[in-house]
């Protein structure tokens, strides 16, 4: 049962839930379950090709992973997945 930690700005799409516990066994599967349970999160999380948006980072523990390359990575009950928005801006 991996845990996905949802960042503050996306909690409006998860009924203010901070995390999702998932029985999925891959990173890809865990993210797919998040989108299935909370469809409104999709447009802020995934691009038009169904890939994680470029300004959203995904961490497993303290390590950043690229879900486009590492989608098949195994997750288990000890895995903590964090969704982290990259913050930027300016003129």
């Amino acid at each position: 049962m991996a845990k996905i930690y949802i960042p503050t700005p996306l909690r409006k799409f998860t009924n203010q839930n901070r995390e999702l516990i998932t029985g999925q066994q891959t990173l890809e599967g865990a993210i797919a379950q998040l989108v299935e349970e909370y469809p409104d999160i999709k447009k802020n999380l995934l691009d038009e090709n169904g890939e994680i948006r470029s300004y959203i980072k995904v961490y497993i523990g303290d390590e950043e992973v690229d879900p486009r390359k590492n989608g098949a990575i195994k997750v288990d009950e000890k895995t903590e997945i964090s969704i982290v928005p990259a913050i930027a801006g300016g003129l």
């Binding site: 909690r11 913050i87 300016g90 003129l91």
Partner: protein, 146 residues
């Protein structure tokens, strides 16, 4: 119009940060509470890690973002938003700001002219992905900021 109240000490700290980092853009996070309105009580300065053109752009290390989420959890605060400065430009979000903005967060922008903070405004994305301005109120009382 949505409302955000800002503790004087926290707001002064944002203004100071904007002046210290002038002519570059400064950035940081802010926290507080949200019931009928937002109330900012705490700020956290963050390094602008943009490697080039820091006069016109800012970028925050994702690890800093993760620390900010933990800080909010540990102190039972709401993570309310992000502040940054616009050196020699108005406190109005740019198209670039809008294109990378997140829902829910308030975006406080400080306009800095000649090294002095001259205007502070706050903005929030609406359902159409456009920014609406928030009514900003400075709280006179001093609140503890850590």
């Amino acid at each position: 119009m949505m409302k955000i109240k800002l503790a004087k000490q926290a707001l002064d700290e944002i203004r100071s940060h904007a002046e210290e980092d002038y002519p570059n853009e400064c950035c940081g996070f802010f926290f507080g509470s949200e019931k009928n309105f937002r109330k900012m009580t705490h700020i956290k300065r963050v390094k602008n890690i943009q490697s080039e053109n820091r006069k016109r752009r800012f970028r925050i290390d994702p690890d800093e973002y993760r620390r900010a989420e933990r800080f909010a959890d540990q102190h039972e605060l709401d993570f309310l938003g992000i502040y940054h400065s616009h050196p020699e430009h108005p406190a109005i979000p740019s198209e670039h700001d809008r294109s990378v903005a997140l829902p829910f967060f308030s975006y406080i922008i400080v306009s800095v002219t000649g090294g002095k903070s001259v205007r502070v405004r706050s903005w929030r994305l609406n359902e159409s992905q456009q920014f609406d301005e928030e009514e900003l109120e400075e709280l006179p009382e001093i609140e503890k900021v850590s």
